[in-house]
Subunit: 100 residues, 2 copies
Amino acid sequence: MYGLIGKMRATPGQRDALIAILVEGASSMPGCLSYVVAQDPKDPDAIWITEVWDSPESHKASLSLPSVQDAIACGRPLIAALDEHHETVPVGGHGIGAAA
Amino acid sequence: MYGLIGKMRATPGQRDALIAILVEGASSMPGCLSYVVAQDPKDPDAIWITEVWDSPESHKASLSLPSVQDAIACGRPLIAALDEHHETVPVGGHGIGAAA
């Protein structure tokens, strides 16, 4: 499996709008086992995204999906910074559901 | 919802053993919507754990479960350091399955 843990900051006051775009864009991505969008309670602009994919290839292919391309286009103006980006290799746990 | 993102380091050579303990301990925790244990591909001792719970209370209660207490007791000697610990508020996404 392939995982990503990332933290981004929305432009001030735009976190909810950016979250809505991210969640909408992630609704149906083949090979996506988990995609969680979360607020950082200590920073009103910060968003955490944690992802699990069945393979790096599935993740790469998702970037070409129209829904994801739309989300990137709509979301990019609302992103102030990409603070953290970690690649992981998920090995187990709970809630790594069937791929979308 | 309540989320956690954490990074720990196993004692050298013990990552796989620690991961096995973590995954085993997380098999049945009421209110746990997602619990993903992952290797850090850049650090042979590093482990990422990302969690989603239906509430902070469910998470807190899980720490008293026999299975979790056993995992803590068995795992603690294999933990070299707790590097990162972030609380989050998950708001949406995919793979936030039904609670265990």
